[in-house]
């Protein structure tokens, strides 16, 4: 299970403002909190700073790495921004968020994967548009897997993102994802998964409940990576419990330790 902490994203008001004011202390506080809550990677996304995304990415990566020594997930659709962030990453193996089957994007991002020895999140979409069915997604997975393998990327460094859409607008958003996970596990048993969890609950009330339950549903099918808020205790508690129930927590030690650390206290 790979947890990527999602909080350092300039579309979040407090982060956006901290970036504008160059408030490094606040950014570092959020980074430390996520790491202590159990994040394996920290996502860094400054896509809303359209006019100076490269400089902002550099500042964020440097600021975060002053206080935490865990690998970063560099998040941008712009290859220039990806490279700017990756070049400064110092700890562990960075993650590229993301590549897709869109031709220009694939060609621009592919070389960065080997250049920076990074893991890569691969979105199941291509130039034909947003996939509607699990079949659409598998078409892209097949092609992406083949092209990434041909470039020497190992299965275990691929993190497929089955594309979570809001169930409020697309009734089949949940089932499309569950089916896709199942099919990917059948055909490519050694690859991993990643996703932007909170998309699924967009537009509905009580989003936290929907997000938590979808984590359980997807974990049951085999999903093993999430971009989420690790400081959300109820979410992390759900994940530890789900892990134990799926037989993936030896002697239930992760769950028991989480309990002793007060994760389940009201």
């Amino acid at each position: 299970m790979l947890i990527v902490g999602e909080l350092i994203n300039t579309s979040r008001k407090a982060i956006g403002e901290a970036v504008d004011k160059k408030d490094a202390n606040y950014i570092q506080k959020v980074a430390i909190e996520q790491k202590e809550a159990g994040a394996d990677y920290l996502d860094v996304n400054c896509g809303t700073k359209v006019f100076n995304e490269v400089e902002t990415m550099e500042w964020l990566v440097n600021t975060v790495q002053e206080v935490v020594q865990i690998p970063l997930c560099i998040d941008s659709p712009d290859p220039k921004v990806l490279e700017a962030g990756l070049a400064l990453c110092k700890y562990g193996r960075s993650m590229i968020n993301s590549i897709s089957g869109e031709q220009k994007r694939f060609e621009a991002v592919l070389p960065l994967i080997s250049k920076y020895n990074a893991k890569v999140v691969a979105l199941c979409m291509d130039d034909q548009g947003m996939p509607e069915t699990s079949g659409d997604r598998m078409r892209v997975v097949k092609s992406l897997y083949s092209n990434l393998s041909a470039a020497g990327i190992l299965d275990e460094d691929m993190y497929f993102d089955p594309l979570f859409k809001p169930v409020s607008s697309v009734q089949t958003a949940g089932t499309e994802v569950l089916e896709t996970i199942k099919l990917i596990k059948e055909d490519y048993p050694n690859v991993h998964f990643m996703c932007g969890l909170s998309n699924v609950s967009y537009g509905l009330p009580n989003r936290k409940i929907l997000n938590r339950l979808f984590v359980v549903q997807t974990m049951t099918l085999g999903m093993d990576g999430y971009v989420l808020n690790p400081t959300d205790k109820a979410m992390m508690g759900t994940i530890y419990a789900s892990t134990v129930l799926l037989g993936q927590d030896e002697y239930c030690m992760g769950y028991i330790a989480a309990h002793r650390n007060g994760l389940y206290e009201a």
């Binding site: 579309s11 896509g47 809303t48 359209v50 995304e53 941008s76 659709p77 712009d78 869109e102 979409m125 130039d127 548009g129 947003m130 859409k165 809001p166 409020s168 607008s169 697309v170 537009g203 509905l204 009330p205």
Partner: protein, 214 residues
């Protein structure tokens, strides 16, 4: 015998069967098409908008109301006089070049179409010159630009610039929307209206049309 108020309620409740039945009853009893549209159908949607903004109603409910509105419109539209029909405002809308996201844009299309607008939906990944060609072809009052990626937000600017270069800027009201956008960005690229969401887009367009009619 149902009233216009009951029709508005049916739309507000998302009762598309009720909306259909009541609309037909009102037509049969001689209520004018424009009254049915304005005081029945659109009035129902007007109840939805502030509740959605206040977080009391949610996207699926807006979709249901749009459907109820649509079912009523289907029956009334053929009865509108040519003169009134030609007043239906046209909007050319699309997701900008390089961007394939369309859920939000489709919600806007649904709301505007059901509200009586003439919607020309160009789809996704629409190049600036395709927008320009559509404006020349359809002479719309509105142009709607949607984007979900920060990389494609700049394509909005390119599209607006292309419309200016083609000498068409003054003929259209440009509305922009999408998750990464802001009022600030909309101002910077020279858009006329920034729309927070689909309901805001529909309100803005309907408001502009109503003001122009005064």
């Amino acid at each position: 015998m149902s009233s216009l108020a009951e029709l508005a309620q049916a739309v507000f409740q998302g009762d598309f069967r009720g909306s259909s039945v009541i609309t037909q009853q009102l037509i049969d009893s001689g209520v004018t098409p424009m009254e049915i549209i304005n005081q029945g159908l659109l009035a129902g949607m007007d109840i939805v908008a502030p509740k959605f903004k206040a977080g009391e109603m949610f996207v699926p409910e807006v979709m249901m109301s749009a459907r109820a509105l649509s079912e009523g419109m289907k029956l009334v539209k053929p009865l509108i006089s040519d003169e009134d029909a030609s007043k239906a405002a046209t909007i050319v809308i699309g997701t900008v070049q390089g961007d394939l996201h369309d859920i939000g844009k489709n919600l806007v299309v649904m709301l505007l179409e059901s509200g009586g607008f003439n919607v020309i939906d160009l789809g996704v990944d629409v190049a600036p010159d395709k927008f320009v060609a559509a404006i020349k072809e359809h002479s719309p009052k509105f142009v709607g630009l949607s984007a979900l990626l920060t990389t494609t937000m700049m394509a909005m600017k390119e599209t607006i610039d292309a419309i200016k270069e083609a000498g068409l800027r003054d003929q259209v009201t440009i509305m922009v929307g999408g998750a990464p956008l802001s009022q600030e960005f909309a101002d910077q690229i020279g858009a006329d209206v920034y729309c927070l969401d689909a309901v805001a887009a529909k309100e803005a367009a309907a408001g502009i049309v109503a003001n122009a009619a005064r």
